[in-house]
């Protein structure tokens, strides 16, 4: 059937260059541009890690904690910053990961650390998938509530299941075999530090690649406009469930690392305040920017270590104040400040 032809006055159009010719190479809106800030932070963090390794013997233990927090922060940033799912119960996956390796070691005598990470990831992912199906059915306040309710429930279970978890006393007597049968955990924490750094590096590489992939972009699309995402043919629910599960697995790995390097698991790994802290870390660094979350984890952990050493009672005050300032005056977090700093240093960014 012929299409009706219509004569219309040719309308003056904007010049159309050769397709692709003007195609820019940056990805501004997806927060993948500003690679300057990312690079600067990466170099800074890398140097920091090297310096700590070389000169900071007494900081190795703290260093492992920082690296673990960074992994946990990445897992939450994928969910909150990229996919736009707000959770106040993510400690549940961290804690379940920690308890998985802890219980495997203490109750079953499975002490292999790398297999332990896999186990923790698998258990956390299973729990993530199971609760994710339910959590993702609601949105907004309901969703926030469900994440909190599930986390509170698991906390309560861990508290009650004394024979398995040690209850409020924690899980004592955890044994961890040498990594790959070669590197034993030493009392200075060097092995632990290197081990957590290696896992961190792997997780960072994975996360960076993933956020630059079509899959990672689709998560941002869902955050930005869910209806439109459906209208371009995305099964939004499945996509969200997949990232929820993935994020749970990463949090589980972080928790497992904490259990392995401290050889102890306490109820605090499941507590609400940990869920709150990790959300704060992501916001502090800059939600939706991987290197922001990483920077936030470092700054927060060091800040907490200093402040609670000086003045443990008022740590909460400074934390609250810092958070309020960030929310009100720097909603893009520390990485937003780095962006501005770099932009000021450069004459002008090409549009």
């Amino acid at each position: 059937m012929p299409r009706p032809t219509v004569r219309v006055e040719p309308v003056k159009r904007l010049s159309v260059p050769h397709p692709g010719a003007a195609a820019p190479s940056t990805w501004r809106g997806l927060a993948m541009g500003r690679t300057g800030s990312d690079l600067a932070i990466a170099i800074l963090l890398g140097l920091g890690a090297l310096a700590t390794l070389a000169f900071g013997e007494s900081y190795w233990l703290l260093g492992s904690q920082v690296a673990i927090t960074m992994i946990f922060a990445l897992s939450v940033d994928l969910l909150v910053g990229f996919a736009g799912i707000v959770t106040l119960g993510h400690a549940v996956f961290f804690g379940v990961g920690a308890y998985s390796v802890g219980i495997a070691s203490v109750r079953l005598g499975w002490t292999e650390p790398l297999l332990g990470l896999l186990l923790a990831a698998a258990v956390a992912a299973l729990l993530g998938a199971a609760t994710g199906v339910l959590v993702l059915r609601t949105r907004g306040l309901g969703q926030l509530m469900l994440t909190m309710a599930f986390a509170s429930m698991v906390y309560e279970i861990a508290n009650r299941a004394k024979p398995l978890t040690g209850g409020a006393d924690g899980l004592q007597g955890m044994v961890v075999s040498p990594i790959l049968g070669l590197f034993d955990f030493d009392i200075f924490g060097l092995t632990a530090f290197l081990y957590t750094l290696a896992v961190l590096a792997a997780v960072v590489v994975f996360a960076v690649l993933m956020t630059r992939s079509p899959y990672g972009r689709s998560l941002v699309g869902i955050r930005e406009n869910r209806v439109r995402m459906q209208a371009i043919g995305t099964g939004v629910q499945k996509r969200l469930l997949s990232v929820y599960t993935l994020s749970a697995a990463l949090a589980g790995i972080a928790g497992a690392l904490l259990a392995q390097t401290s050889q102890f698991v306490g109820l605090n790994v499941l507590h609400f305040s940990l869920s709150g802290e990790i959300l704060i870390i992501v916001a502090l660094g800059g939600a939706g920017r991987l290197w922001g979350a990483l920077l936030g984890a470092v700054v927060f952990t060091l800040f907490k270590d200093r402040l609670s050493a000086l003045d443990p009672a008022y740590w909460y005050f400074w934390l609250g104040l810092l958070l309020a300032v960030i929310v009100l005056f720097a909603p893009k977090g520390l990485i937003g400040l780095v962006d501005r700093l770099l932009a000021a240093g450069r004459p002008k960014e090409t549009a």
Partner: protein
């Protein structure tokens, strides 16, 4: 058997009424301003501290301390709303949640600095410190007062929201804010008033309920899940919804802990998850 049922019912009701008094304001502000105020419990704790200071340090009678708690906390709420909360209306959920957590943390530090980390107990009037007999069982008369107070506040709110001009404006704005503004409702003022009212009632709840939810600096964090549950299950912007939700949760929780103590608080989370999955907007949500 009957004794057990009575005990569960009585203490469940008392618990429920405290939950209701503290939470109802949260639901109204969330429904009206769409602001997720996780620091709501800190206002309740502040009310508790006002009653403690008034009755213990200033030697004021309990019946003066309660209205004082309402007024002081409502004023504090109004100030906070005017200064900061206002700037976050319409901001994304994450920022609101984070900001209110920041408030909560600062409040915890402030309470610790001022009152120390230990639990504080207001002075209860002699008339309420005895026991009363109900169906052959003795109950603390203070808890009977708590139950009565919950019902009175429900009735007062019902009158205020259902029968007054200001209540009508609040209902209109919850229903359709743009429309309310278009017909000339000053929503700025309305929001401040509502926020003050909501936090004030929470302060009252903190004071009245100190016997059930003990006043410590971390009050606002420890019971946060409970308050949010009442609101989420009851439905935002409703007055009766949270009442029924609180009844449900109070009685189920007390029954669970009384009958099957080894499961502890496990019970109510199960119930809550079930309800939210069945009705995501809550039992009586005006708005989801």
């Amino acid at each position: 058997m009957i004794t057990a049922a009575l005990t569960i019912l009585f203490h469940g009701l008392a618990f429920a009424m405290v939950l209701y008094i503290v939470s109802v304001g949260l639901g109204i502000t969330m429904g009206l301003m769409n602001f997720a105020n996780l620091a709501h419990g800190a206002f309740a704790a502040a009310g508790g501290y006002v009653v403690v200071v008034a009755t213990r340090s200033l030697g004021l009678p309990f019946w003066v301390a309660l209205p004082a708690a309402f007024v002081v906390v409502a004023l504090a709420g109004a100030v906070v709303e005017r200064l900061v909360v206002r700037t976050l209306y319409g901001a994304d959920e994450l920022r609101q949640v984070l900001f209110s957590i920041a408030l909560l943390f600062m409040a915890i530090a402030g309470f610790t600095a001022a009152f120390g980390p230990l639990q504080q107990q207001p002075e209860i009037p002699a008339a309420l410190s005895g026991q009363i007999a109900l169906g052959g069982v003795e109950f603390p008369s203070y808890r009977a007062f708590v139950i009565a107070a919950g019902v009175v506040i429900l009735a007062a709110l019902w009158l205020l929201i259902g029968r007054t001009r200001i209540g009508m404006r609040i209902r209109a704005a919850v229903d359709n804010r743009n429309m309310a503004e278009a017909i000339g409702v000053d929503t700025r003022m309305l929001f401040t008033l509502t926020f003050a009212l909501g936090t004030g009632i929470a302060g009252l709840g903190g004071g009245i309920g100190a016997d059930v939810l003990s006043i410590t600096p971390t009050y606002g964090q420890e019971y946060l899940v409970l308050f949010l549950i009442v609101v989420a299950v009851g439905g935002l912007g409703s007055i009766f919804g949270p009442f029924l939700a609180a009844l449900c949760i109070g009685v189920v929780d007390v029954a669970g802990k009384y009958l099957i103590p080894e499961f502890g608080a496990f019970f109510i989370y199960g119930v809550v998850i079930a309800i939210l999955l069945a009705k995501p907007a809550g039992l009586f949500g005006v708005r989801s």
